[in-house]
């Protein structure tokens, strides 16, 4: 069974943009698109720019895939798989995430694995 941990409330999220949370020493970027009812969580570390900045990237879609563009050098990462669109050998970790009764929850099991 998936173990969920509350990280913040829906009111803390930035619609159509990203925020960053700290859980178990990991930085997790959370993107929220209320119109589509979509929420995504990926690791905040940009493997190209080598800095914790992905939560501050612009999000949108490319060919139907939800993506965030790195604010440093503009590589795109698929928000569902974490794979970089420009270089498929590079990916960032993705985390299960859900909204339950106004609380935003990330799966702990996945985090410690």
């Amino acid at each position: 069974m998936t173990q969920w941990q509350k990280v913040c409330s829906v009111d803390d999220l930035q619609p159509n943009s990203g925020i960053c949370v700290l859980i178990a020493d990991q930085q997790v970027a959370i993107f929220y698109m209320p119109k589509e009812g979509a929420i995504y969580a990926i690791n905040n570390y940009d493997p190209f720019g080598k800095a914790n900045v992905l939560s501050r990237g612009l999000c949108g879609d490319i060919n139907g895939q939800p993506v965030v563009a790195s604010p440093l050098y503009k590589q795109h990462f698929n928000l569902q798989s974490g794979v970089c669109l420009e270089d498929e050998t590079v990916s960032v970790r993705v985390y299960p995430i859900r909204i339950d009764n106004g609380s935003v929850q990330v799966s702990l099991v996945e985090l410690v694995s």
Partner: protein
Amino acid sequence: MSNKQKLVVIGNGMVGQYFLAGLVNQSIRDAFEIITFCEEPRPAYDRVHLSAFFSGKTAEELSMVSADFFEQHAITLHLNDKAAHIDRENKTVTSAKGIHVQYDKLILATGSYPFVPPVPGHDRRNCLVYRTIEDLEAMAAAAKTSKVGVVVGGGLLGLEAAKALVDLGLETHVVEFAPRLMAVQLDEAGGAMLRRKIEDLGVIVHTGKNTSIITDGEQCVHKMCFADGEELETDVVLFSAGIRPRDDIARGCDLAVGPRGGIVIDNSCKTSDPDIYAIGECALWNGMIFGLVAPGYAMARTVIADLAGNVASFTGADMSTKLKLMGVDVASIGDAHAKTPGAMVYTYQNGASEVYKRLVVSQDKKYLLGAVLVGDASGYGTLLQYYLNSIELPENPDALILPARSDESVGLGADALPMAAQICSCYDVTKGAICQAIEAGCTTFGGLKAETKAATGCGGCAALLKSVMNSELSKQGFVVNTDICEHFAYTRQDLYNLIMVEHIKTFDELLEKHGKGRGCEICKPAVGSILASQWNAYILSNEHLGLQDTNDTFLANMQKDGTYSVVPRIAGGEISPDMLIAIGQVGKKYKLYTKITGGQRVDLFGARVDQLPLIWKELIDAGFESGHAYGKSLRTVKSCVGSTWCRYGVDDSVGLAIELENRYKGLRSPHKIKFAVSGCTRECAEAQSKDVGIIATESGWNLYVCGNGGMKPRHADLFATGLDKETLIKTIDRFLSFYVRTADRLQRTSVWMENMEGGLDYLKSVVINDKLGLCEQLDQQMQNVIDTYQCEWKTTIADEAKLKRFRHFINSDQPDDQVVFVEERGQLRPADEEERKHFKLVEMV
């Protein structure tokens, strides 16, 4: 033992290198082991644009060879070693350093040397020539202790050299033996017009002067005495009186040379020894030396074809040229002097705008024989095609040089050119080759350049290439996709119009009505910028926040480690000591790395996202406001100190700069905008390198537009002269509003204007003469932006809800542990990867 033939190339100048670069792309390359000698300490560089060295280009930037070229293509390069002797009997070459190599085929690309007239005193100190980068370094060294410089020779190279002296800050003279400048290419009236224009630029021209001796001067180092008894004092003498072929190595092995020098070659570029070729300026073909690079390239191509066993012949070269001499356009085509029997001449002279044009046509007025253009060479491409392809002239050939009347186009359309027409003479690219590349799927201008190499040499054919491309694309039924991205099938200009006309206030509304999907990092910031330009709402409000580019989202500039830099506005670069101290105190308190910017303000680096509001609270309390360094918006209005303090100042440049900066601050635009105001024509504020530059003159303000620095620097164009302040501001209002409305995303004013059909003249007709009847709207648009200005930081600081975002983690007050600094020269900087391993985060504040 290799069974490859040994190919030795003597000389790695532009032509020698062109030969190598061409050869390694051919399959016959594998038949040869290639060895080349280069006498200079660096491989081939662009000698044609040598004077760019003094306007800031480095030797590396002038290089024509990538760093790994020789290694990549297994070519043995003997750098800094001159080939000294050829033994034809044993087929060997010996170098000055004693290297001894065998050859099967030998290519001489030894080039030329500058001719120095044998006047007594020609070898005095600081009497120099202009040919190599070492020569340039010697010039720069000489200029440091000099005030006056003289160029001997008023030809093409001489005037290039004069530009170099001007760039070095010397009082510059040109001394020419002939009665006019560029005597080979220009007729008398053309030469006179060029002289006037060059004298306007501060160069003093002396024609009909024969130097008899150079001796000790009284005020300067040297005194030049002329045959007519006049004298001229100078500190530096630069000889640029023509070139002579370097044929000494050929003479040393008894190859045939011409009576006045030059290694004799036949149509396949072979010398009198069939295993030895000569190409470029050292070669004498049909009694002629070609002192231009294009014929040298043609010879190189001939030799490559000959080595491959193909029939190829060099049949002479067209010596037509177009160039910009000290900013003056000059072009000469074919028989410029009308020496052809029966030739007819048309001339057009416009004294006011200093334009001179001359057409030489055949007796029956059907064919173009030659042309001279001074001051406006825009017709060069068309005229050259008429000349090279013997295209029949229109009924009234003078239409080709008269100013265009509004309703008729006299330019030769790309369709009129035959497939064999040469579009690019540097790389011998025909219209046929371009069409072929387009058919093969190459449909962008950049792609076409990369594929065919056309317009990558001197660049003179770029406009023609573009018109061939456009005409071919439309003929083949291509629709050029100008959509901004996959979410909107519109250009930025279309989106602007939709937003304006339909009063659209948010991205979501625009997406719903005219787009699809969710948007992306292309369309979101572009639309965010348009909404801000048009309605000027607070950019961090909930409906706009997600649209903003990296830097706009936190109203600061993100640096490589994810921290930010902070730039308060310092309008016009004027700041009181107290304000300066206030910045210093903030910098000190938050341990920020501090640097003065090129735009006359102070940049504070290394602020964490959670520190930004604290820093800005203190800056705002001290009286600062946002500098918008993070936005695609007005950055700075740089100024010199102006008439208030300066002995030479003509008007108050600082006062105007502050007024303009406060007027346009906060204006969101397709790209950043930079201004400068200079208080006199000495131009200390460098206004001519800005999008908008203003220079004070005795008769009012002169306005320059569409300049920029950066990767591809461009001098601004003079837009209007002698303006009073009110007219000046009105003109800038309209110019900026029109730019904001019609430019592409991330398009600076220079590219915007260059891509505009009709260019500068069209822009003037819209902004100054209100050709489109738009000016009232443009005025209103600007007034709205000015009336709704807000300091975004002030608004943000006052809004508790907005400040919630300014922390690294939404659920913790910890800072980002990846941000690590080390100290250097007494300040902090981001630690590099190696350093990170050894340092832990130091608590900053």
